[in-house]
Symmetry: C2
Subunit: 423 residues, 2 copies
């Protein structure tokens, strides 16, 4: 489909390009024009959308999530971490089947679309069902492995890596494992050697809690980042989720090895894990991206909340209202996320890039007056402002309606059936 | 107008009443029935609304705000507090006239409605223009004085108290002053004596920053709460905004004197002021309410963000994921707010109470599955879920449309004119 989006304000997220007025052309899955309003040489369109001077910008990249956990939203809140995980989460997860995860991921996709998310980095039990849910709805998804002592194997991961990296697909796969504290040294050595064989980056939960770091130091005499590096884990780069308790030594190492850090402030807040030192990451030149984490621990899949928390918590941590400014946060939620997820073609709005973009409704009271749009998005934006979400050139959400091949209502019904059966 | 709201889920916020299915009748400005679905004895209605099993609950009470500061949303962010206030906020405020504040307050009212706010507790430069903006749009507003060494006087405050406390009005007035650090001892003594004369409570910004507390101790040898009490300020009760650095002694005093504490987590986060000890307040039995503070420091007027922050920041502060649970937060945002604002008739949904209520859209992905609705509202709710806001029996916002006597677009235009003229 060829779509012309005209009469728009445009934030390309390219460095040094300020917001300007103009239009964007989308032909099939790619952007073919970004610039001033055109009157001539305009091709024939399947659809022309008057953006009414609302803002077009790259969609948000949710760089860490476990979509299938929508089941556990508000199922077990306000509990200490251990009780939450072992008493509530694990027992229910053990009862979930592939079809359950398929529908629960679809439910998450709907929520991503309302929040302007155009790609997700998903680690969960059954990559196949996540891939199907995303393909069927039209969501771009980078899968990663959740290998650990109890589920998934290095062999499975290798087969997923081969299966899910076709060109022009919405789905890709990058090696990953759950965490140091759930994996044996032997298993981690196998994962490192797979990464060498594939020349691929590796992604993992790391330094989410103080206890996790202390446990690793006790087991191996090293903090988790240093320990994994000693196994050769990051020879071809990779990324870590959370990073609340990274040491200076780890930050320096991650800079050297080009390791992305995905921060998850909503989850770290709700589970009382702590506040990540984002300002230190930025000072060291790390690539920082943002993820919601799964809906069991957050419980929202809302990039607006995450963006506010990234800067807000940094301000509290540094006792400095000028810490981590709004444009930096917008970069994390878009360009940096695309880098962390190896989606180089989905980072900014420019000809040749993938048509993964959103329209932000500026005609809402929380965006007025229109004085500084970027700051408005980070400091007062909300899901209410997402007027359209387009992925791969397809409009999947517009003016509150979903276009994902299945009625939202049917997906809700399925999710309610599952929670009632499993709880 | 008589309105029947049927086929609803209902959360009355009365203690021990769980969510049930039924209907609510609104006749003029009051609720006349809350209970099971009725087929008989139903009066004739001006309007019948099928709630489609969405949730009716009391509207949120925004218990501390400066609505007129919408002008300064995203005008000066990411700055240290002193530079923000003296270099940016004060110079622009000095140029605002009454008509400006009237329109800027109207802009804020629109945003409150999108966030399910049915009454506000507003402290700002010109109470008359705030009162007009609220009367004209239909917002319930409790005004308080902003007296300090530089603006407003005790005499003015007394006249506002007389003028704005008519029965059956949307507007009321309670004595208040800006803060200890902007008021002379003599002025504060006059305010205390006014409170005695009126037998009225007094409201004030207190213990927002560490520097404020240190300054007061230096000046008077006492922390601000103890010092104000020594002037007889709280003889008839009152309330304080922020309270980030309250001492144990102050908490005990406030309990004894029935002083309400209004927490403002969004503002305290963005200005890096700190995290209030909410759990200590609750343990001591204080009445804790929630306010957004003004849009210059927040920048959002969003009670959903505030609710998540109240519990989230408490969890971080206490390093305990079980701290301050969701129901407690919902109580703060509704019942406790009504108490703090002396709006006893707007606290819960029951016959005889004021018809200040909202409909929460449960047919959105962030509210699914429907497992624990109260937790869903606090942990994953957003403005997107506010389907209707009713104040004093009038529907002011429904399905994204405003019914406030003036087009939203015209109010936006006015706000943009003002910022362009004053900046």
């Amino acid at each position: 489909m060829n779509i012309r989006l005209w009469n728009a304000r445009i934030l390309t997220m390219e460095e040094t390009v300020p917001i300007f007025e103009g239009e964007i052309w989308v032909q099939q899955d790619r952007i073919t024009y970004v610039g001033a309003g055109k009157e001539e040489e305009v091709p024939v369109w399947d659809m022309e959308i008057d953006c009414e001077r609302n803002l077009l910008m790259p969609g948000f990249k949710n760089a860490h999530t476990h979509s299938g956990m929508t089941l556990l939203r508000s199922y077990a809140d306000d509990l200490p971490l251990h009780e939450w995980l072992h008493g509530q989460v694990f027992p229910v997860e053990a009862k979930m089947n592939q079809e359950d995860i398929y529908y629960l991921t679809k439910l998450a996709v709907l929520e991503y679309l309302t929040s302007g998310v155009t790609s997700i980095f998903d680690m969960y039990l059954t990559p196949e069902s996540i891939a199907s849910a995303c393909s069927d709805t039209g969501m771009r998804c980078v899968l990663t492995g959740a290998v650990n002592n109890f589920s998934q194997s290095v062999e499975q991961m290798e087969s997923w890596y081969e299966k899910f990296n076709e060109k022009e697909s919405l789905i890709s796969f990058l090696p990953g494992f759950h965490a140091e504290y759930t994996s044996s040294k032997e298993l981690m050595a196998q994962i490192a050697s797979l990464a060498h064989r594939l020349k691929a980056p590796v992604y993992v939960h790391l330094s989410e809690t103080k206890e996790e770091v202390e446990g690793c130091v006790e087991r191996y005499g090293m903090t988790p980042g240093i320990f994994l590096d000693s196994l050769g884990m990051f020879e071809y780069g990779g990324g870590i989720y959370h990073g609340v308790y990274l040491t200076e030594e780890e930050i320096a190492l991650f800079k050297k090895k080009n390791i992305h850090v995905v921060t998850n402030p909503g989850s770290n807040t709700k589970l009382a894990s702590g506040i990540a030192p984002i300002q230190d990451f930025l000072k060291a030149g790390l690539n920082v991206a943002i993820g919601t984490d799964g809906p069991a621990s957050n419980n929202s899949l809302d990039m607006f909340r995450e963006m506010f928390l990234v800067t807000g918590l940094a301000k509290l941590r540094e006792k400095d209202a000028s810490a981590v400014d709004a444009m930096e946060v917008l970069k994390m939620a878009t360009v940096n996320g695309a880098r962390a997820m190896c989606l180089e073609d989905a980072d900014v709005l420019a000809p040749g890039k993938l048509a993964d973009l959103i329209m932000i409704d500026l005609q809402q009271p929380n965006m007025q007056p229109i004085n500084n749009i970027a700051k408005n998005i980070v400091y007062s934006g909300s899901k209410q402002n997402v007027k359209m979400t387009m992925i791969n050139g397809r409009i999947l959400y517009r003016d509150g309606k979903f276009y994902v091949g299945e009625e939202a209502h049917d997906i809700y019904e399925k999710a309610n059936e599952i929670i009632n059966r499993l709880k």
